[in-house]
């Protein structure tokens, strides 16, 4: 039994105003529900990532070259700061299946000490063992079992291997079949590992990679500045030691698998804070209205407690506890619920994209911090709401509050005012006298419209992306992708045969000197576009632009992050190469899928760089047999290229679902809460109107009319906010993507109609309470 009488009073007060207090509880619950759900996912997965990379000793640097001898590896090992070096042959190849040839990333390893394999089933790998270890998704999708024979193919050489087991690898947490793919679809392509001795079967491929383990670089939360500096130093020393300036030395930041997962974690972390803050804001609105109203109604009770000898602090703590207590209960319960549901839900989605051996939720101190923060803010707002009644001496608080000194505004003296009907005058006065409540109503409706617009906008944007990317920017019906190192003349032959346009895309680093003297660095791509009319470019206004014969064009997002305008200069170099170039950016274009600079083939050649196209775009239908040719990696038609967007759509549907649910909850909670408050406050006035003979329908219409005004104002405010939120979501996409937030007219229409239906539904529902107002009761004393 609760012994503290003030605590009992609080519980009963809460029960009496349960609708208002329930909304505070729900908001705290939902905020922490989503926060803890996402935080435990991020914490758990980041810990899993760290443990996995540490246990499997993920490489810290990758050196790529033509052929590394054991002496070269030894020289690199002796560089201070390098703890170990192993050699590897990594080659794109094929797995020859009964019905097709699937892309296969094939690895021959010297030993399994860096980026080592993680056994899922079958035999463990050890040096000198025969056979192949493949990824389990590929095995499952293609009905391959341990002991089966699989035919592999590199550069036209086919050989058979016995499957000895299935494995994961820390470099294959996220991987794509080729540069054109946007989203993973594991199982349709795969990766495999085998001993280097097996490379003889593949025609004696050469060691093209060195994997380095560094002493002063760990696997925690991305590379620190110190670690980046260490990688840079060692990269320079490697190039010097091997006497090769063009060696590509890649860090974890350049590694697709590592970097994509890190970016995803950072994005989840940022989003996890967004929801509790939004819900906390709504909760704060609820606490302000409820507690202000409550302390104002309990003014005499507060005076009595003071007169009885309760200190101001005790009374203040009592009222502060209302919001704090509910926030505490809501947050803690929400946290537990989120931990057991949301975490699993997100991890389930992550499993389709990222390959980790274990998906364990984790808990961080942030959850406790957020609970404390929520309780502190709720309590603080409670204090602000009740301090007005606490300040005066008891003698003053014991007297009923003197009525507000109301004055007629200039508007109320105008002829226009006199021409307004009673309903309109009543509502205008009510709004003027309850500005806070009205503002909260408008904010609630605006929030609801904002979320609905951005939810539908997400879907519109993905649909627009599909049309933009494959209908406007790339008008080819097919794309032929060539293997690295293919003779440019061979590619040119294909381009001639299929009337195609050649494209070369290479990774590059960009830098620019900012106004304050710092160097801003970014990584992206350099694209050289051959002659043809299949790859198009658009400016900010989505007007087609033609590239000039001098200077380069820069993608809009890259220009923004480097702070570059048309006419500015940028320094760039191809990743792995040492030579830097300086070019004037003469045009800015928008590209949704890759960021960097683009230039004509001739401009590219003017830099003394050989034009080595890796892709040919065509509107002809290529002979299917060309996919079997050694130099061709893949031939994809538009439909195949667009299929990867489906995955992205699925994610957008989830986002849209969450937004619609949140919008509905927000709308219902805020409007119902404020509506009930409004009716409670006006019960005496409405009872008076009933006594005077006003029909119930007319009184209801007064209430509905005010809500209609609030809804209209909220919707007007919500439309631009929805646009802003959508732009914010689009800006939060990974750096390489530049999505355009698009909202079509039907989406605006649906959002506005949705908000009106919700608002008016609640309004009509609440106005029914007018019928049940007891004229005698309402006209008695206030307490």
């Amino acid at each position: 039994m609760v012994r503290n009488m003030l605590f009992r009073k609080m519980l009963r007060d809460i029960r009496k105003a349960k609708v208002q207090f329930l909304s505070i509880f729900i908001m705290s619950f939902l905020g922490m529900y989503i926060f803890v759900g996402m935080d435990s996912e991020v914490t758990g997965m980041s810990k899993g990532e760290f443990d996995y990379y540490t246990e499997q000793n993920l490489a810290d640097l990758w050196v790529e070259g033509a052929d590394f001898s054991s002496e070269s590896a030894s020289v690199v090992s002796n560089i201070p700061g390098v703890s170990k070096t192993v050699r590897r042959i990594q080659s794109p190849g094929k797995a020859v299946l009964p019905d097709r040839e699937a892309d296969m990333s094939i690895n021959f390893i010297e030993n399994d000490e860096i980026s080592s394999t993680y056994r899922i089933s079958g035999d463990p790998y050890s040096v000198g063992e025969r056979g192949v270890w493949i990824d389990p998704f590929f095995a499952k999708k293609n009905h391959l079992s341990i002991g089966d024979t699989i035919t592999l193919k590199i550069d036209g050489v086919e050989w058979d291997e016995i499957i000895r087991g299935t494995i994961y690898n820390p470099e294959y947490v996220y991987f794509l079949p080729n540069v054109a793919a946007l989203m993973p679809e594991y199982g349709t392509y795969g990766m495999c590992f085998m001993d280097s001795a097996e490379s003889r079967m593949a025609g004696g491929a050469k060691w093209n990679q060195l994997l380095l383990d560094l002493k002063n670089v760990d696997n925690r939360d991305g590379l620190s500045d110190q670690e980046k500096a260490e990688c840079s130093r060692i990269s320079r020393e490697i190039r010097k030691a091997l006497d090769n300036d063009s060696l590509a030395v890649l860090t974890k930041d350049d590694n697709l698998s590592y970097q994509t997962f890190r970016a995803e974690m950072d994005q989840h972390e940022a989003m996890s804070f967004m929801f509790p803050i939004v819900f906390l804001l709504i909760s704060v609105m609820g606490i302000i209205t409820t507690m202000t109203r409550m302390t104002s109604r309990q003014r005499v009770q507060i005076g009595t407690l003071k007169a009885l000898g309760f200190s101001r602090r005790t009374i203040m703590l009592h009222y502060v506890t209302y919001g704090g207590f509910l926030s505490l209960i809501g947050s803690v319960l929400g946290g537990f619920a989120g931990y057991s549901t949301i975490t699993d839900l997100i991890m389930g989605m992550m499993k389709d994209t990222y390959i980790f051996p274990s998906y364990e939720p984790g808990l961080s101190g942030k959850a406790v911090f957020m609970v404390i923060f929520e309780v502190a803010v709720s309590s603080g707002v409670g204090y602000i709401s009740c301090r007005k009644e606490l300040a005066p001496p008891p003698a003053e608080t014991l007297r009923p509050e003197s009525p507000k000194n109301l004055k007629h505004s200039a508007f109320e003296k105008s002829r226009f005012w006199r021409g307004l009907g009673f309903n309109v005058q009543w509502n205008i006065r009510d709004i003027m006298r309850n500005r806070l409540r009205t503002c909260m109503g408008v904010l609630g409706v605006a929030g609801c419209t904002m979320l609905l617009i951005s939810a539908f906008g997400c879907l519109d944007s993905v649909n627009f992306f599909t049309v933009w990317m494959y209908g406007e920017l790339n008008t080819a019906s097919s794309q032929i992708t060539f293997k690295e190192g293919t003779d440019p003349d061979d590619v040119k032959d294909y381009a001639l045969q299929y009337s195609g346009q050649m494209i070369e895309t290479v990774a590059a680093d960009f830098e620019v000197l900012s106004d304050d003297g710092d160097t801003i660095k970014k990584t992206g791509t350099v694209t050289a576009v051959g002659k043809g009319n299949l790859m198009h470019f658009q400016n900010h206004q989505l007007k087609y632009i033609d590239f000039t014969d001098t200077g380069v064009a820069m993608s809009s997002k890259m220009a923004l992050s480097l702070g570059i305008k048309e006419g500015d200069f940028v320094r760039w170099h191809i990743t792995g190469a040492d030579k830097w170039y300086r070019d004037r950016v003469v045009q800015i274009y928008r590209n949704p899928s890759s960021q960097g600079i683009t230039m004509k083939e001739d401009v590219f050649r003017d830099h003394d760089i050989a034009f080595r196209p890796s892709v040919v775009l065509t509107n002809c239908i290529p002979d299917p047999s060309i996919e079997d040719r050694d130099e061709v990696i893949s031939v994809q038609n538009t439909g195949e290229m667009m299929s990867s967007i489906e995955e992205m759509k699925k994610m957008m549907y989830v986002m849209m679902g969450i937004f619609i649910v949140v919008a509905t909850v927000l709308g219902i909670v805020v409007l119902y809460n404020l509506g009930v408050l409004s009716i409670v406050e006006k019960a005496r006035d409405m009872a008076t109107l009933k006594v005077l003979g006003f029909p119930v329908g007319m009184i209801r219409w007064i209430l509905i009319m005010q809500n209609l005004w609030i809804t209209i104002a909220g919707v007007i405010a919500g439309i631009p906010l929805g646009r802003l939120l959508l732009d914010g979501i689009m800006a939060d996409m990974p750096e390489s993507m530049d999505y355009m937030g698009v909202i079509k007219m039907p989406s605006y229409f649906l959002s506005v109609i949705g908000t009106f239906i919700l608002s008016m539904g609640i309004s009509v529902l609440l106005s029914r309470k007018v019928k049940s107002i007891d004229m005698v009761d309402a006209l008695k004393g206030v307490e």
Binding site: M5, A307, P393
Partner: protein, 256 residues
């Protein structure tokens, strides 16, 4: 009936007390030049018409308000100089208040309203002891306090389930639960019928007679002067007259 005045040193002393309010350019005097002495265990009735300054006098006695000028001496200390915290402790230790409209917490039962004083006691014990005599602040068990006002049958009812008389008894039980030295009553029978009012008056008179508490009752009804040991008449913010009654009536004898 013998009066209950024991002429020792005054228990509370008002010296030239003034309470004024500023209303725009004008100063409104609610009390002026008030000199007054109260003795332990006496029953005092403060009489006067509406707006005479009775409630202001009561508020100053109860530490619920502070004078604009003058001194209020209690246990050799001037309450007028007290800080907010000291005033709170003064109220908690020494004063019980009975209101005209009972002022019970509507969401607490009669028992719980009285048990509130237990919470107060707990919170006071945590603080430094203000009382220089080292007196221990004790509270009565809520059951005892309610029993003493004859409410043992209704102690688990909410105020809305009780009659006006029962609510006022609860209010008195709450006031006496902390054994205050000074019991202040603001029109305690103002909202009650005659029969119930008589019962309440008897209770208050008993507090003074048997428990030796100083009971100060504010009223506009001159009939109540008959039960007082002393009657203080207030008019236009000034004390008009202080009258000592040698033979006050018992509460049952008073009719109105």
């Amino acid at each position: 009936m013998q009066n209950n005045i024991e002429k020792k040193a005054p228990f509370i002393e008002f010296k030239n007390v003034e309470r004024s309010y500023q209303m725009g350019d004008r100063t409104f005097y609610a009390l002026r030049d008030v000199n007054l002495e109260l003795y332990e265990g006496e029953m005092v009735v403060i009489l006067g018409p509406s707006g005479a300054g009775k409630s202001t006098l009561l508020n100053l006695l109860g530490g619920m308000d502070t004078p604009s000028a003058g001194e209020i001496i209690f246990d050799n200390k001037n309450i007028a100089d007290f800080s907010d915290r000291e005033l709170t402790e003064y109220r908690a230790w020494n004063v019980g208040v009975v209101f005209q409209f009972y002022n019970l917490v509507p969401t607490l039962t009669a028992y719980e309203n009285v048990a509130l004083m237990g919470d107060l006691c707990k919170s006071l014990r945590k603080k430094s002891v203000w009382n220089e005599k080292g007196e221990k602040f004790t509270v009565r068990a809520p059951e005892d306090a309610l029993k003493s006002v004859g409410l043992e049958e209704h102690m688990h009812q909410f105020p809305s389930q009780m009659s006006g008389g029962e609510q006022q008894r609860t209010s008195i039980a709450r006031a006496i639960a902390k054994n205050p030295r000074l019991l202040l009553c603001d029109e305690p029978t103002g909202a009650l019928d005659t029969g119930t009012g008589q019962e309440i008056l008897k209770l208050l008179q008993d507090m003074s007679r048997t428990e030796h508490r100083t009971v100060v009752m504010v009223t506009h009804n001159s009939v109540f002067a008959e039960i007082a040991d002393r009657v203080i008449r207030v008019k236009n913010g000034r004390i008009q007259d202080v009258q000592t009654c040698d033979d006050p009536k018992s509460a049952e004898e008073v009719k109105w």
